[in-house]
């Protein structure tokens, strides 16, 4: 099913910015908010995992309901999970389309990766503190 992905600041994400290796940060940055009716449509319950795909990539996140979102729209706090699927195209402005990425979402049993492992996929080496 197709959705429009929006990203932005949340108080939980902001609270853990100095502990980005922590499970709390992972929880804040890898949670996708979705209209409850859309969750029914794709057959996922709160806390289950979904595979979110765009033209730029694929990432696994945990889903929670958000009645404040219209149907067809999803929201993820800014961070490495959302940016794993945001295109680097800036249309000559310097600014990527962080607020409007078309994505498709489907249920999955795959785990949400730790931040270090996600960066490992980008060619980095996880540092455990």
């Amino acid at each position: 099913m197709r959705f429009l992905l929006n990203t932005g600041r949340t108080i939980a994400q902001g609270s853990f910015v100095e502990r980005k290796n922590s499970p709390s940060y992972r929880m804040a940055a890898a949670t996708i908010c979705m209209n409850p009716v859309d969750m029914l449509e794709i057959l996922v319950e709160e806390g289950e995992h979904v595979r979110v795909s765009s033209d730029a990539g694929v990432v696994v996140m945990k889903v929670i309901p958000d009645q404040g979102l219209p149907r067809g729209r999803v929201f993820v706090s800014l961070g490495p999970y959302a940016n794993h699927i945001v295109s680097a195209e800036t249309h000559g402005t310097g600014m990527p389309d962080f607020k409007l990425t078309p994505v498709s979402i489907e249920p999955t049993k795959d785990p949400v990766m730790p931040v270090g492992s996600l960066m490992g996929l980008c060619g980095g080496l996880p540092y455990e503190d």
Partner: protein, 428 residues
């Protein structure tokens, strides 16, 4: 020891009324702070020593070794990128710009993925802004457009707008009207007198419709503009025109959405239209605590606020070409120095992949997402806790952050100066 009037170095509000209790080299209590401030001051999660990536692992190294290797990486590069700067103080930012100049590097700050488009718009049509004190004491209408202050700037409403007293407002809490324009419901939209829900990417059209209404062209407005009814548009315009003093604050919901700098230009031009009827101002909700300072410092020294390229021996500025995301996406830079920011977390994946391919050095107090992509990380003191220097609030007011105790870490300026000295000596 209790220290009063402490400046918080988290967001662009730079709240300067915190009371912080320090015991030796540890903050033990914070009063007046929001959730973000409490986490910042009470957090104790520093990287202990400089680290270096060694093939399949990491090793601790000395500051001298880390600084010498960083200088060598930068000297060896043909097109180094110096990125970040918004989470450190002005004096350190200044050293960074001078370092970029002698290296012939590109230097860019976090505005590039924040309010860079706002700067482009301001360069086109100006900035009818004011200080937050003016808003607090005079504004009877406040508009938050594409911004969610309760999450991103938690005390903005209580210190400057919705919930605070105002010198020229008798009953500020009741008298002030708050309008929130957003694509989704947020904590902030829940406390608004008027919530305008716009379709994603529809801000430009809604701003244009409001400009037309304020100009007296109500008859040309269609029944619905990007999800907003004509009746609500008329109502919002009437609230704004009837204001004695209106203040628009806009966030990344405008700068990152389709239209980008043109959205901001339209919002500024709406402000100008409204000022034909009453007094209106507009201001960006700046994110990092000293991102405004990075624009100030860059501009003093180079003439440009971000995305400055010294490759030609002079300062050259062309956002879209000399901006960090574009340089990384094109795989153009061959080394990167990251200072006081986290591009690994906040740039698209393609940029993170290039940061991992090239020698990336990070100067930052904490382990963050960029750490996993870097070759070297150098921990430093935190401005406003165990380091100090000048910062600029989101309305351009400079405030000095203070050192609350003498810690064990060098500050950004000290580390950067040492790198600068080595580079200067090598360059002759």
């Amino acid at each position: 020891m209790k220290i009063e009037d402490v400046v918080c170095s988290f967001c662009g509000c730079l709240c300067d009324d915190l009371v912080v209790e320090v015991d030796g080299k540890k903050v033990v209590n914070v009063e007046n702070g929001c959730t973000l401030a409490n986490e910042k001051f009470m957090g104790d999660h520093r990287l202990e020593t400089p680290i270096r990536r060694t093939g399949n692992g990491w090793e601790k190294i000395s500051y001298e070794e880390a600084i010498a290797e960083t200088a060598a990486i930068l000297l060896d590069a043909d097109r180094p990128l110096l990125y970040g700067w918004s989470g450190t103080f002005g004096e350190a930012q200044s050293v960074g710009v001078h370092l970029a100049e002698i290296l012939g590097a590109v230097i860019d700050n976090t505005s590039t993925v924040c309010h860079g488009p706002s700067i482009l718009a301001i360069q086109e049509v100006g900035h009818p802004g004011c200080t937050l004190g003016q808003v607090r004491n005079r504004a009877d209408v406040v508009v938050y457009w594409g911004a969610n202050p309760i999450d991103a700037h938690p005390r903005h409403m209580s210190r400057y707008t919705t919930y605070c007293d105002g010198f020229f407002l008798k009953d500020a809490f009741k008298d002030r009207k708050v309008i929130v324009v957003d694509v989704r419901e947020t904590e902030s939209s829940n406390v608004a007198d008027e919530f305008v829900r716009v379709n994603p990417g529809g801000d430009y059209a809604v701003l244009s419709a409001l400009r037309a209404i304020v100009r007296g062209k109500r008859d040309i407005i269609p029944p619905n503009v990007e999800g907003v009814s004509r009746e609500q548009l008329f109502r919002v315009a009437d609230i704004c025109i009837a204001a004695k003093f209106g203040a628009i604050f806009f966030g990344l919901g405008l700068t990152m959405s389709p239209g980008k700098n043109k959205n901001i230009r339209n919002a500024i031009e709406l402000t100008q239209e409204l000022s034909r009827h009453t007094k209106f101002t507009i201001s960006p909700m700046r994110g990092h605590w000293n991102v405004y300072g990075s624009n100030e410092v860059f501009t003093w020294i180079t003439g440009y606020p971000y995305a400055v390229d010294f490759a030609r021996g002079i300062a050259f500025y062309n956002p879209g070409e000399t901006t960090s995301v574009d340089i990384l996406r094109r795989g153009e830079c061959d080394a990167c120095l990251v200072v006081a920011s986290d591009p690994g977390a906040h740039f698209p994946r393609a940029c993170a992949e290039h940061l991992a391919r090239i020698p990336t050095v990070q100067i930052d107090p904490h382990v963050n997402v960029t750490t996993h992509l870097a070759r070297i990380q150098i921990p430093v003191g935190v401005a406003g806790i165990d380091a100090e220097g000048t910062a600029y609030r989101m309305d351009g007011v400079p405030l000095r952050t203070r050192r609350l105790y003498k810690g064990d870490y060098p500050d950004d300026q000290e580390v950067l100066r040492k790198i600068y000295e080595i580079v200067r000596e090598a360059k002759g």
